[in-house]
Symmetry: D3
Subunit: 66 residues, 6 copies
């Protein structure tokens, strides 16, 4: 009965999101022998203005590297 929440910045395609869901579900089956039918995965896409690392928004960090 695992529950997994993945937070990423946008934008992943539907195919990429499906690959994350499949991959993390398979991982829980392989490592912990969990039942996939009761394995939930929720992906949250978080805007770069709303995500901070090192005290800066990801928006600012990307501009600095650009």
């Amino acid at each position: 009965m695992p529950y997994v929440n993945i937070k990423i910045t946008p934008a992943a395609t539907p195919e990429q999101k499906a690959a994350l869901i499949k991959g993390v579900t398979d991982l829980l089956v392989t490592v912990l022998d969990k039942n996939p039918e009761t394995t939930f995965v929720v992906i949250d896409e978080i805007d770069a203005d709303n995500w901070g690392i090192g005290g800066d928004t990801v928006t600012v960090r990307r501009q600095r590297k650009g």
Copy 2:
């Protein structure tokens, strides 16, 4: 001082969301004698492409049943 987070797929109406908030607050008052004024409820609506069960997105599961 409970905090409750409810994740659902869209789309609930404002009336349904109000009913969830009222219902879960009443439940915490009834079962645990909590103070409703310090009971928080946050509802997240998660797109069907971003929710996985059994290794598939909810989008795919719904198409299969359709």
Copy 3:
């Protein structure tokens, strides 16, 4: 496929936790016609030292009222 996370201070009995799980699952069935078999509820018990309201820990707020 709802997922619900309930955070409370300790200590609820197993019977109270079972009542919360049953109550919130029934609520989602009633209000949104969700399938209970894919409704998850996770209860976190948070120590009063680790919970703050109004800038104070719940530990301190309870002492003040005592």
Copy 4:
């Protein structure tokens, strides 16, 4: 390696969100001597219809005060 999630109602400006990220990162450095480079902050903006206190949505609470 702290992780901080801040949930607020909309709408904060990019400058306010940057100030929250900076402020909470500095706080973790000051209080716990954490490394800012491995300090993550994620801000979620939650619609007033999706947030409940005291059994009512924030939308309704604001109308009542208005």
Copy 5:
């Protein structure tokens, strides 16, 4: 900069937890080309009394199957 939270029932060994962390980090690198150095994984172990599916605690569901 992904953040992943995995909730499971106890008890996973340290080796299994390390395998989950490695596996999900590799998955994010492979699928989304994320930087592993800013990929966080947090595992929460949730007691079977605190986890509900289908309106019952996992404790009760396991007894029923036993």
Copy 6:
């Protein structure tokens, strides 16, 4: 009505946790003019075996530096 969740590795003292709660509440008052009485802070202490960065547990990362 903000809600803040802070995840750290153990072990913070009760005084440090109170300082985090006070500091983040003040920050929300200063930056967003939020009401402290409806500002919640929840601190989760996550074991170093259950936290991963760069594909390794924090336990392993700390040993490597030691």
